[in-house]
Amino acid sequence: MSQGNAVKTTENEAAGENRISAFVKREIGRVLALGSLVAIFIFFTIMRPVFASWQNVSGGILMSTTVIGLLAIGTTFVIITGGIDLSIGTATALVAIIVGKTVQALSLNVWAGILVGLIVGGIFGMINGLLITMLKLPPFIATLAMMKAAQGLALIISDLKPILFTTDVKGWDEIAQGNIIPKIPNGVLILFVGAIIAAILLNKTVIGRYTFAIGSNEAATKLSGVNVNKWLIAIYGIGGVYVGLAAVVLTSRLGSARPDLGLGYELEAIAAVIIGGTSLLGGKGTISGTVIGALIMAVLVNGLRILELQQEWQYVITGIVIVLAVWGDNVRRRRSGEVS
């Protein structure tokens, strides 16, 4: 999860102390984010100890992170390139509907159904990439158009009805709600395995390197002979695969595919990415930060519900925490920029 250069500098420094301070310096963004996550968690635990019960942590907080968290992980790649994907929310509904219809029509089993979700999601993401690279549309506009199109298609394909396909497929409920590992819902497992795979892709593979390169300086990357368009399409495709995964988890959690959800999920996911320290300007970002960002949002929303605060105030406080989280990160960056 670390960038190559930083690792080398650390290795060159023999003294353990230096190593620790270098680590802290490099990781301070995530350390702070993790710190605020822990602080918020402790606050709610003091207010209502039942908040920290495993039933709430697993079924309430972690489970609530699954859909938005997967969307956020996928879209981290896109945001690091300096792009944005507004279509991920409604695309989740569209993919869910397509999976439901396909599974029903072809009597697919669980695994085939999941595969359909990943493929359809991936294709959808690649269409975003094509619009951005081939038609040279700004990502904001291209994905806004796709957001609308996905919403419409979800309504058309579903014939405006929720699709109740999960009871016909053995094991579909288990995708999110089963327990391969006792006490941990599978949906949560999917979230973390998805995060680990994404982190490997981002930090250890060529696609990850180009993700950062395009975000840091697209023109320079192009000049150095990289086929930026090809990689962008692939990167939006990765975002789409995670949309597919989120859609599958969503249908398992709800027991059906519903065409009327998803709108607004994209903003929650993007907020999680930014809270996690990824820059909207591109070039910087981590998967672990995104997961922490998504967890901060989930902990906050769940905690406010556990406190049984009036909904109006829940919204206001959520807004304030987003501002504080991102502002604090900005201040830190500016300071560390001045120092170095």
Partner: protein, 328 residues
């Protein structure tokens, strides 16, 4: 004499022909009615549409039914209303999303001489509904407050008048949502043994958010006795939260709203106690009937037409009176 009779006969026959002829002409003119609904997604609106279509066919009218993708899109719906007025149809049916925002549009329709009858939800018209209102002739609706009240009575019986009850609303701003909530709350407050928790909302009836709200509520209140969800999406979400928490069926009573395949299954399986159903087809049919009678025959419709509601559970779900209003 014979001649006279013949003339009379011929004349009356001619009059009859002319008479029926003109009557045929009047009835022949297919009335064009634009119906602007609050949504299209929920099957409820599909049932309203079906009721309107069936009635239109019977009365030689033609309807066009449209609504925004979700019930939070007030602007989108107002655009549709503007578009409908611009088409100058014979009449407009309107289910108000923007209860105040739509008033200027309704006045514009009135000024253009297009009669408007509202359905499901009325706009907050300043004057009395009727022929002289520049808002609308009236509204065909489910008395949502009374429906909420019925849900409260059923809830009281289910939990034997004791314990904590949570209301999960689907909107804080839409009038139907407010009435379903208030009808329930006002009634449940009369029962001394019942404690009402802070009402939570899953805006737009998002089933996933509703699930998360109910999951948190089950943790915060292990002694929770009942949940009342104000629409189909909320009811589904609550049921799924019960499943995820591996709750014993019937431990927490759940009363929902409307129908849909999944909710009906949940009621049959005992995961959910029951639900209130409106008569969506009746809403559509009564609206079209009122408008056609007014335009064609000048019969002023009643300003308020209550289209009714029922409580259903595992026992009466197949009752013909109930089943006709349920949709998968």
């Amino acid at each position: 004499m014979k001649k006279v009779l013949t003339i009379v006969a011929v004349a009356s026959a001619m009059a009859l022909v002319v008479g029926t002829g003109s009557a045929v002409n009047a009835a022949d003119k297919t009335l064009k009615i634009e119906l602007i609904s609050k949504g299209e997604t929920h099957q409820f609106w599909q049932a309203v549409k079906k009721g309107a279509e069936d009635q239109a066919k019977k009365m030689n009218a033609e309807i066009r039914f449209q609504g925004p993708a979700t019930e939070t899109m007030i602007d989108k719906q107002l655009e549709m209303l503007d578009g409908a007025i611009a088409l100058k149809p014979d009449a407009i049916g309107y289910a108000a999303l923007g209860t105040t925002e739509s008033l200027s549009r309704l006045k514009a329709a009135h000024d253009a001489g297009i009669p408007v009858y509202m359905f499901d939800t009325a706009a907050s018209c300043p004057d009395k509904l009727g022929k002289n209102s520049d808002c609308a002739l009236g509204v065909a609706y489910t008395d949502s407050k009374a429906a909420g009240k019925l849900a409260a009575k059923k809830m009281k019986a289910l939990i034997r008048g004791k314990g904590k009850v949570l209301v999960v609303g689907h909107s804080q701003t839409n009038q139907t949502g407010i009435d379903r909530r208030d009808g329930f709350i006002n009634q449940i407050k009369k029962y001394k043994g019942i404690t009402l928790l802070t009402t939570q909302y899953s805006e737009g009836g998002d089933a996933l958010k509703a699930q998360e709200i109910v999951s948190a509520a089950l943790v915060a209140n292990p002694d929770l006795k009942g949940i009342y969800g104000t629409n189909e999406g909320v009811s589904i979400g609550a049921g799924q939260a019960f499943k995820a928490a591996k709750l014993k069926k019937g431990k927490v009573k759940l009363i929902g709203f409307d129908s849909g395949k999944q909710q009906m299954q949940n009621i049959k399986s005992g995961l959910q106690s029951g639900a209130i159903t409106q008569s969506p087809m009746g809403i559509g049919a009564k609206t079209v009937e009122a408008l056609v009678n007014y335009v064609r025959d000048g019969i002023t419709p009643k300003p308020l037409i209550d289209t009714g509601f029922y409580y259903y559970n595992k026992k009466n779900i197949n009752d013909p009176k109930i089943a006709g209003n349920l949709y998968e």
